[in-house]
Amino acid sequence: MELEPKERIDAWGADLPEKVRWDCYDLCRGLSWPKGVIDQLEAIGIKDDRLPRRTAWYNFLARMRKADAARRIDRIAQSVAEAQAVADRHGIKAAVFVETLKTLAIDKAMGGDDKAATQLASAAAAIWDRAQREEELRLKNAAQATKDAALALAREKFEAAEKRLERVAEIADAARGGKVDPATVADEIDRILGRKK
């Protein structure tokens, strides 16, 4: 259902190029009639008999406000797509982070600032990249610490084995004289090897 009547072809601004129409709207909407608006329109390059009358100007503003509402809807869709693309490009998996990106982008697009929306999304991606690098560094450090601990444990085990070997050698030297009972020697060796308490 068509709720709004179509624009008249002889309405003021209907024959202007799209970009000029948006320039007129963006630059003049907050200005007072007639001085501010006429000065600004003349600065854009609309002069003399092309300048609007009061009613024609307010009709133009009303039409452009409605078009602006539609433009914002398009911008929201673009911003959401852009934020999602940034998240995908940088491999962002955290759902809250992606949603926050979208939230920022939508809020900026609703404010009419789609450039800022893209910048925010890129900034967020950069922050995410840095967080990722810090996380990688932390994991690397943790892996190094584990490796160091394993090395220290291996050294301890090796030293203990060497000590046991030396002790066994001492017992073997003592047993060579034949004065020590073989059963006592065997018991002593078992104790060193931990096979007997």
Partner: protein, 96 residues
């Protein structure tokens, strides 16, 4: 434009319906992320063509909310209320 206290189909003219439809389309575009109330009121103001009063904007906002066409959630990072389109809202929009 809508005013508080006017209810039912008769209360809305073509402009009102256009404004409500634009607001619903905005909510649909924002998807699950939703929009803030301020942004939606701004959008209602723009869609009306001429500047609207606070009362008119609130009336349009209340109409959409009270019919269950939108609902809100608290955004987890800034804890602000964001409004999103409901299933009923989507059905209503498709019927417009």
């Amino acid at each position: 434009m809508l005013t508080a206290g006017r209810k039912g189909r008769d209360a809305m003219d073509a402009t009102d319906r256009f404004v409500i439809k634009t607001a619903l389309e905005t909510l649909r575009a924002a998807g699950g992320t939703g929009v803030t109330k301020k942004a939606l009121l701004d959008q209602i103001d723009l869609a009306a063509g001429a500047p609207t009063t606070d009362e008119q904007r609130e009336a349009a906002f209340s109409l959409i909310r009270d019919r269950g066409w939108m609902t809100y959630y608290y955004e987890p990072v800034w804890h602000s209320q964001r409004w999103t389109l409901t299933e009923r809202g989507l059905t209503a929009l498709e019927g417009m």
